[in-house]
């Protein structure tokens, strides 16, 4: 059977949860057509009930050890539930949380890990997946040499599933060790409050060095993002200049996004940046340099100064709304 480990916040499932349901469906015929969902932490009961509209079986587990979801306690919970259910595939979303826990789960189970995959197939009983390497310049095809396996799935790659027959919900119970809670979680800083989540946004507006300053973001990027109900991204240069927080950085050392529309403003298009956005459905760019590398990976490019072009875009979008 396949166990999918979904993420939720206070009872609300993350978008990646529905993508994992679809990813599991791709493998299910080779795994007895049996898939269960696992929801952990505060709010897991409500989230499990919501997930049961999509899966035949949902397991939820909340415990004091999981109150701040430390990686080791989550690992223990996942490994125990996987063992009890005889899971042959454990699927995670390749979010920061998923990328942190899934290698621990694979190492503890001593099984193959397929990391940040774009698709999943079964050949001769073994799971084969494609994933990026070399700063997303290469797509490699990797085979897990045995079963069971642990997989993390790149967010935004699989379509979100539609509701199916309602399934059952049961509570699990797991015995934790004292090691599981030795890391204590302190202050959390949530970036960009009140704005749509960067990794879940359907539209992402990213500013690069060409935006010029913190003020440039407030005058150009923020109002355009508001007009499009978009998440805000930034390049490494912008973050290193202190114009925007790390949490907004897109690229190799930042977030990976795959929105319907990626709008790059004053972004040159360094390799490290492209690896964070090259799965976007439509890429559009505004840059005054017609030779900027970003145009080579764009569907639509407007050659012009962002300080002149972007206010016109904002005005046009506001006009069409009213």
């Amino acid at each position: 059977m396949i166990l999918i480990v979904v993420e939720q916040t206070d009872g609300t499932l993350k978008k990646s949860a529905f993508e994992l349901v679809t990813a599991a469906a791709a493998l299910a015929p080779s795994f007895q057509d049996s898939t269960a969902g696992l929801v952990l932490g505060p709010g897991s009961t409500a989230a499990a009930n919501a997930l049961a509209d999509y899966l035949p079986e949902v397991v939820h587990l909340d415990a004091p050890e999981l109150s701040s979801m430390p990686a080791e306690a989550v690992t223990t919970a996942v490994v125990e539930v996987a063992r009890l259910h005889g899971a042959e595939v454990v699927l995670f979303a390749a979010t920061r949380a998923g990328l942190s826990v899934s290698p621990r789960v694979a190492a503890r189970m001593d099984v193959p890990l397929l990391e940040d995959v774009l698709d999943l197939e079964v050949h001769d009983g073994l799971v084969v997946a494609r994933r990026f390497s070399y700063l997303s310049r290469i797509t490699e095809t990797v085979q897990a040499n045995s079963r069971p396996i642990v997989v993390s799935v790149k967010p935004g790659t699989f379509q979100a599933a539609e509701p199916a027959q309602p399934g059952t919900v049961e509570a699990a119970s797991v015995v934790f060790s004292t090691e599981d809670t030795r890391v204590t979680v302190g202050e959390k800083t949530v970036a960009a409050t009140g704005r749509v989540s960067l990794v879940e946004a359907r539209v992402v507006v990213t500013g690069g060095r060409g935006v010029g300053s913190t003020d440039g973001f407030e005058q150009l990027v923020e109002p355009l993002a508001d007009a499009l109900n978009a998440g805000i991204g930034a390049t490494r240069a912008v973050v290193e200049n202190g114009w925007r927080p790390y949490a907004e950085q897109i690229g190799q050392t930042g977030k990976t996004v795959a929105p319907d529309l990626y709008l790059a403003l004053g972004v040159s298009g360094a390799v490290q940046h492209l690896s964070g956005m090259n799965r976007s459905k439509i890429v559009a760019a505004v840059n005054k340099d017609p030779d900027a590398p970003i145009f080579q990976v764009s569907d639509y490019g407007a050659v012009g100064d962002v300080h002149e072009v972007v206010p016109l875009l904002i005005a046009a979008l506001r006009d069409s709304k009213s």
Partner: protein, 252 residues
């Protein structure tokens, strides 16, 4: 005395052109550098030592002979000595973690730095996997670190922003941009590095480990883009862009 291990990789330069011959990446003629994410770990270890605590810093690398250049860079930055476990085989992170955890255990390390994401295999798995093998806690995507009374007070990037953690030692810390600004090796230190100990070990010294994954093929990542370019006045290009996003791509 505190012992710190920094794990090193050598990767193609970010500006290097990656080619494919047949069904595999061809790295012939490519310029290699120490992985930038590993440099943050080396720099942080040096700063801990410079902060006054008696510290030995050991660089450990698992990979082909060419990795020696990256090791020399770390020694020139100020690492005390290095261990290079040589193999031409591409090993998955879970298998690598077993080999590296054995070495880290033999060295009796208190703290291990691992690059947050490898610039060749685009993997963030090695740090958490090493921690699990050692039975240690970890912090990933770490942007701040301070040692205090047997614990590491860190700030790390999370999905929603950032999070402060207090991690008991021994621990594995994976790095993130922003942790520090790595130094450049000076000429005297490059000279001095040549006399530092670089212990070569053969992979056969470790228990035979079959790789858990196999790369079947590699191809250039291509994305079909329309590459439409609008030129003219600001008014013209803005109008063209809006029109195409609305009427052709239908994304706004």
């Amino acid at each position: 005395m505190m012992k710190i291990v920094t794990i090193l990789k050598q990767v193609p330069d970010a500006e290097a052109r990656i080619r494919v011959s047949g069904t595999a990446v061809d790295l012939e003629g490519v310029t290699f550098v120490i992985d930038g994410m590993d440099e943050y770990g080396v720099e942080q270890a040096l700063r801990i030592r410079e902060g006054g605590s008696e510290t030995e810093i050991i660089a450990v690398a698992l990979g082909p002979p060419r990795f020696e250049d990256a090791i020399r860079t770390a020694l020139a930055m100020g690492v005390d000595r290095a261990i290079h476990i040589e193999t031409e085989e591409r090993l998955d992170p879970i298998t690598q973690a077993k080999i590296l955890a054995t070495t880290i255990g033999q060295e009796g390390a208190d703290l291990v730095f691992v690059g947050g994401k490898e610039a060749d295999w685009d993997s963030a798995a090695l740090g958490p996997a090493i921690a699990e093998r050692l039975g240690w806690p970890h912090s990933d995507w770490t942007t701040q670190l301070r040692l205090e009374e047997g614990r590491a007070a860190v700030v790390h990037d999370s999905d929603d922003g950032s999070e402060a953690l207090s991690v008991p030692l021994p621990a594995v810390i994976t790095t993130q941009q922003g942790l520090n600004e790595p130094r450049y090796p000076t000429l005297p230190n490059i000279m001095k590095a040549r006399r530092k100990e670089l212990l070569k070990r053969d992979l056969s010294a470790f228990a035979s480990l079959a790789p858990k994954t196999t790369v079947l093929s590699e191809e250039i990542q291509t994305s079909e883009r329309l590459n439409r370019l609008f030129m003219g006045s600001a008014e013209e290009v803005a109008a063209e862009l809006i029109a195409h996003l609305r009427d052709e791509a239908k994304v706004i």
